[in-house]
Each structure stands twice: as structure tokens, then as C-alpha cells.
């Protein structure tokens, strides 16, 4: 079957490992990876809401986990993943409207996503830690 449907013997484009990593391609795969990570992170969201429904003791268990070193590490990762996926998602929506597709604009928005996601993560944690102290 495969040989019957095979077209003329055209040259193949070089595979992924031939290309030099570029900002645009790295941001693209990071969008997928952060999306997958956030999908896993929804488990904590469901656990948290379920715990509030179950009562104060259940919520204490969630808070104990989230304030452990593993919990803080995971929340740091998920918060960055959220801001990254949010900002880069907005970048994708502009592309869907046909805006910002030129090379220069795509790089500028790419760096803006990198800087913006770090900045928003730092601001969010500064606000959250400020509330712990108060």
C-alpha cells in the first residue's frame, strides 16, 4: 500500500537536529511543554477545590503540601508555566489574526514573552509572600 501511494522521490528537508536552535522554535516547544505541565497542575487545582469542599482539615493537608519544599518548587514551576503559556498564547492569538508574523516582530514579541513571564512570576510571588507575612 505504502509503495503505491508514495510520490516521486523528492528531496527531504533536513531533520530537527540539523537546525540551530532559534528563539522562535524554542518558544514554540516551550509553549507545548508548559501546556502539558499546566494540565498536570490542574490536579492540584481540583485537589484544592475538593479540599475546601471537604472541610478545614482537608485544606490544611493541601496547604501543608504546598508550603513544603516540593510544593513550593512545583508551584514556582507552575506559576511560571502559567504566565508563559498565557503571554505566549496571546502572542499566538495575534498571529491567528495575521498580526506580528514578520521575523522582526516575531522575535520582539518572543523576547517580550520571556521578559514578561519572568516579571509576572516575580511580582506574583512577591505579592503572595507579602500576604504570608501579614
Amino acid at each position: 500500500m505504502a509503495s503505491e501511494t508514495k510520490g516521486p522521490n523528492r528531496p527531504l528537508s533536513p531533520h530537527l537536529q540539523i537546525y540551530k536552535p532559534q528563539l522562535t522554535s524554542m518558544l514554540s516547544i516551550t509553549h507545548r511543554l508548559t501546556g502539558l505541565a499546566l494540565a498536570v497542575g490542574t490536579l492540584v487545582l481540583v485537589w484544592w477545590i475538593g479540599a475546601v469542599a471537604a472541610g478545614p482539615e482537608a485544606l490544611d493537608d493541601v496547604n501543608d503540601f504546598l508550603s513544603s519544599w516540593l510544593g513550593i518548587l512545583l508551584m514556582a514551576g507552575w506559576s511560571y508555566a502559567l504566565f508563559y503559556h498565557l503571554l505566549n498564547g496571546i502572542r499566538h492569538l495575534f498571529w491567528d489574526m495575521g498580526a506580528g508574523l514578520e521575523l522582526k516582530a516575531a522575535y520582539a514579541s518572543g523576547w517580550a514573552v520571556v521578559a514578561g513571564s519572568i516579571l509576572l512570576t516575580v511580582i506574583a510571588w512577591a505579592m503572595a509572600l507579602g500576604n504570608v507575612g501579614s
Binding site: R32, G35, I49, G50, V52, A53, G89, L93
Partner: protein, 125 residues
């Protein structure tokens, strides 16, 4: 391959659903921009607060409604996104179909569990 006139009018490709998957990914994405920003800001405000404050926030009627909408948009968006990833990287047919079903079921279970919890908090408060 050329489309038949009927096929062109219907505007649907070989998957028989046209751009529906692509479009719903965007619709849920647009909905999630304000919803997640509101959620993150709100949750940061709840950090360090006692149980009653957290339950009171979730149980507020307006908050409950928007949380349910956020949950629906989140799991719809996650399901569509993971589906594309599975279709891109998993090629063994049995594994592919099993993973797609598991992802879909899991997204529905998690969404239903979240919505049930929100309603419990809201209606008991």
C-alpha cells in the same frame, strides 16, 4: 485532491469537523485570559487567609459561576491541546486511541469533580 461542489459548500475536511477543533481551542484560550488572571490575583489574595475566607470566596455566587466557567474552559482547552500533542507524537494506533480516550475521560472527570466541589461549597455556605 479536488473537493466536490457539495464538499466545498460544507467546508469540512477529511475529519468531518472543519475548523471546529482549531476554533474551540481559540475560543477557550480567549475566555481563559481574563479568567485565569482573575483567578491568580484572587488566589494570591487568599494566601495566608483562614479556611472561612477561602470557602467564603469560592462560595460567593458570582465567584462560583465564574470558577465553574474557568473550570470548563480549562479542561476543554487542556483536552484539545493534549489531543493535538498525542496526535503529533503517538503513532501506534492502539496506543494513540487509548491515550486520546483516557485524556478525554480524565478531563471530564476532573471538570465534573471541580464543578461538584464548587457547588457543594456554594450551596452549603
Amino acid at each position: 485532491m479536488a473537493r466536490t461542489p457539495l464538499g466545498r459548500v460544507r467546508g469540512l475536511g477529511s475529519a468531518k469537523e472543519g475548523t471546529h477543533h482549531w476554533w474551540m481551542q481559540r475560543v477557550t484560550a480567549i475566555a481563559l485570559v481574563p479568567l485565569t488572571l482573575w483567578f491568580v490575583v484572587s488566589v494570591i489574595g487568599l494566601v495566608g487567609k483562614p479556611y472561612a475566607a477561602v470557602a467564603g470566596w469560592i462560595g460567593n455566587p458570582i465567584v462560583s459561576v465564574f470558577l465553574i466557567l474557568m473550570v470548563i474552559a480549562t479542561f476543554y482547552h487542556a483536552w484539545l491541546g493534549i489531543q493535538v500533542v498525542v496526535e503529533d507524537y503517538v503513532h501506534a494506533k492502539a496506543v494513540k486511541i487509548t491515550s486520546l480516550l483516557l485524556v478525554k475521560f480524565l478531563c471530564f472527570v476532573l471538570a465534573a469533580a471541580s464543578i461538584y466541589s464548587i457547588l457543594l461549597i456554594s450551596l452549603s455556605g
